[in-house]
């Protein structure tokens, strides 16, 4: 009977949020939750929400509840500045976001000089950290140049290919990566046979395929996301083209395998070190699935960003941005991306790139 009462009291405590002692800690999540780029923004929001709920269930942060404020910037610079100033007005202590490099760039002009911690799960434009203007900006995803150099090394050193075609999707991620790859290859004395973009959502890519067929590159490097990648490789294979393909982390996605089936066999993709076997990652994936959600391209990066932030706050035992910043750079945190910390510029350490290849319907690390 007594146990029951205690249980009841405990349950009551758990179900009444007002019971929390102090004001909640506010953390912003910003990204594209509607519009064309919603598929990239919604999963990060979901994973952060999930992580925050779990955290609150376990007693919150520094004894306070964590409250997530999600703001939609539609990946547009103007909306991003509006959202950013709204988050500032609401006195969030940190922002997980933004999703697109462009929107992040615009939003940073609002945060700049404000000592607000911003951790993006997906903005890969190198200059965001490298230009040194954003001391409180971090990202859990390595920037494009890192990945591009990895790709160039693999193509030139491992595969020993010299005939390379670069195709991109004209988007800021895809074209950015393709551009970096071109630069990386240039440093190694290779000029690509082709550098051009396709329009995502076009009804047919066969003109490009015929062009590839004529140029006969040994490998096609595609900068962009998996939907376009699988369309291009499928059409190429159906036309009997046998060259190799390589892409970045935007392609290493389970749906790429499912949708591309036999056509994507042999496709190379660079991506952060394999994390899908780690217990923490598996657990998050399982919980997401239970909610009918997917991790998308950047969901795990966003989860990791949140985890790293929480760990840093706990380590600093404060919400002071300078102390958190120091903790982020000093302490390693166990996250869905593995053990990570951040370098002086704000880029992630510990999430390197491996090269994978599709073999029998699965991505297998080959380098």
């Amino acid at each position: 009977m007594r146990n029951l009462i205690i249980l009841f009291a405990f349950a009551l405590f758990a179900f009444i949020p007002q019971a929390w002692a102090a004001e909640p800690i506010l953390i912003g999540v910003a990204g594209s939750f509607s519009g064309d780029l919603a598929p990239y923004g919604i999963p990060p929001k979901n994973t952060v929400m999930l992580a925050a709920e779990e955290l609150n269930k376990k007693g919150g942060l520094l004894g306070r509840r964590v409250k997530i404020i999600a703001q939609d910037d539609v990946c547009q610079p103007n909306a991003a500045t509006i959202v950013a100033s709204k988050l500032m007005d609401q006195k969030v202590i940190a922002v997980i976001g933004h999703i697109c490099s462009g929107a992040t760039n615009a939003a940073l002009s609002v945060y700049r000089g404000k000592k607000l911690l911003v951790i993006s799960p997906s903005a890969t434009l190198p200059s965001l950290t490298l230009n040194g203007q954003n001391p409180y900006f971090f990202r859990t995803i390595p920037h494009d140049a890192v990945q591009a150099i990895r790709q160039a090394d693999f193509i030139v050193d491992k595969l020993k290919y010299k005939q390379i075609a670069i195709v991109h999707d004209k988007g800021d991620y895809g074209k950015g990566l393709a551009h970096q790859l071109k630069e990386a290859l240039k440093k190694r004395g290779i000029t690509p046979l082709l550098f051009e973009g396709v329009t995502p959502g076009a009804v047919d890519y066969s003109a490009l395929i015929h062009k590839l067929k004529r140029l006969r590159p040994q490998i096609v490097a595609f900068g962009g996301y998996h939907p376009e990648a699988s369309k291009i490789v499928t059409q190429a294979r159906k036309k009997g083209l046998k060259m190799d393909f390589i892409s970045g982390d935007g392609v290493k996605d389970p749906s790429f395998l499912k949708i591309g089936r036999q056509f994507v066999e042999g496709y190379y993709a660079t991506s952060p070190a394999d994390i899908s076997t780690q217990p923490l990652t598996l657990e998050v994936l399982k919980k997401l699935k239970a909610r009918g959600q997917t991790p998308g391209n950047f969901g795990l990066q966003a989860h990791a960003a949140f985890t790293a932030l929480v760990k840093a706050i706990q380590a600093a035992h404060s919400t002071d941005p300078d102390q958190i910043k120091a903790a982020l750079q000093k302490n390693e945190a166990q996250t869905t991306l593995g053990k990570i910390r951040f370098d002086a510029k704000g880029d992630v350490i510990g999430s390197g790139f491996s090269v994978y290849q599709v073999k029998k319907g699965a991505f297998i690390a080959v380098d």
């Binding site: 103007n78 500032m88 002009s109």
Partner: protein
């Protein structure tokens, strides 16, 4: 009554049937699974059933003149009282107090709203007054923004120099575009301007060596005040006043042009091109005037936009923007300044304040656009005809 009930039931049934494969089922072709979602389908049925009643009720009670002549009703009469110079000035005074009482967010969205009002007033010259349907208006906005971005990056120009140049450059492009398309009528003009807008955006994307392509141009500075540089908050407040000033100019220009020889020529062209020609109106010059002046405002706002976001990329200038600006003009009631202001507030601020609806926000926004057109096709505030009353002196 029973007939009514049956009617709405069958409407709801039909719409639910339409929703069946999208709302009621979800398939995954790879996993070969099929989910039935009956609960959601029931929700659709309940919703459509109640909406059907409401829709019917509103349609029946729709004011009759909505369909025929837009007789200036009570609203317009009141609007006329509202928009006299003194009231307008008062409104601006109140508005100019906002930065002192509200936070950065409110200031930020008010700048955006004012920017769209100005854009709509500019497009109103082209579409509302001259009757030239322009679906690529966003191109001129982009030209303004990129003038500042590029002039700053390559030549180190500041906001103030760029403001003039951006506006003039946009106006020049407007005239340049106008020349080849003058012969086109109505909707052909619409699609060519749409094409022009897309071409410009694609060029901005592709000519990466010059325009920085899809990566965009970052770190565009805020305006300075006689060399004084503000911090972010100060900068945005200063920008707020600059935008307020521009808006005031745009409103004055619109109101004065309506009562002028040039404005009447625009409206004459809109009403009947042939008769306008026969009355000695130079079609080419008058249309180019409209294109140029309309584009000028877009260029000016573009420069402000670049300064406000401090970052610009081609993706900010998509067709959707043109569509929204056009919607503001039409929803406002073509040619009415007050209407444009109200419509801009509705279409720009409403989605902003609807954020709590989260993912239903844009759905509702689209539905509202349809509903507003159906229940007020002539716009919120129909243009009041200028009253040229005979002077007392000459009557005597």
């Amino acid at each position: 009554m029973r007939k009514e009930l049956l009617r709405h039931l069958s409407t709801a049934f039909g719409l639910t049937l339409l929703a069946l494969p999208l709302v009621g089922m979800k398939v995954d072709f790879i996993e070969k699974t099929l989910d039935w979602r009956w609960g959601r389908l029931m929700g659709v049925f309940a919703l459509t059933f109640s909406l059907s009643w409401l829709w019917r009720y509103l349609l029946v009670h729709r004011p009759q003149q909505a369909r025929s002549s837009p007789a200036p009703g009570v609203l317009a009469a009141r609007a006329h009282l509202l928009v006299n110079q003194r009231v307008l000035l008062l409104l601006f005074l109140v508005l100019s107090l906002v930065p002192w009482v509200a936070g950065g967010y409110q200031v930020n969205i008010l700048i955006t709203a004012m920017a769209y009002i100005t854009l709509a007033l500019g497009l109103n010259i082209v579409v509302g007054m001259a009757g030239l349907l322009d679906l690529g208006y966003v191109a001129f906005y982009a030209i303004g923004a990129y003038s500042y971005g590029l002039l700053h990056h390559y030549l180190g120009w500041g906001f103030w120099q760029s403001l003039g140049v951006g506006g003039l450059l946009a106006a020049a492009m407007g005239i340049l575009l106008g020349i080849p398309v003058l012969r086109l009528r109505g909707d052909y003009l619409a699609i060519v301007t749409l094409g022009f807008g897309e071409i410009l955006r694609l060029l901005l994307e592709n000519e990466a060596d010059f325009t920085f392509g899809v990566q965009g141009i970052p770190n565009i500075p805020k305006p300075t005040f006689f060399g004084f540089r503000f911090d972010y908050e100060g900068g945005i407040v200063f920008l707020f006043y600059i935008m307020l000033g521009i808006l005031l100019l745009a409103i004055t220009a619109t109101k004065r042009l309506q009562y002028s020889r040039v404005g009447r020529a625009w409206m004459a062209i809109r009403e009947n091109e042939l008769a306008a020609q026969a009355m000695g109106i130079d079609l080419t010059k008058t249309k180019l005037n409209a294109f140029g002046l309309g584009a000028f405002w877009a260029g000016v706002v573009g420069v402000v936009f670049a300064a406000k976001t401090s970052f610009i990329n081609p993706a900010s200038f998509q067709f959707f923007e043109s569509a929204i600006i056009l919607s503001i003009v039409v929803l406002g009631g073509m040619g009415s300044v007050l209407g444009v202001v109200l419509a801009a507030i509705l279409l720009i601020l409403l989605p902003e304040y609807l954020r709590f609806l989260a993912e239903y926000r844009m759905l509702l926004f689209g539905a509202l656009m349809v509903a507003m057109m159906i229940f007020r096709p002539q716009g919120l505030v129909p243009r009041l005809r200028p009253r040229y009353e005979r002077d007392k002196a000459s009557k005597a």
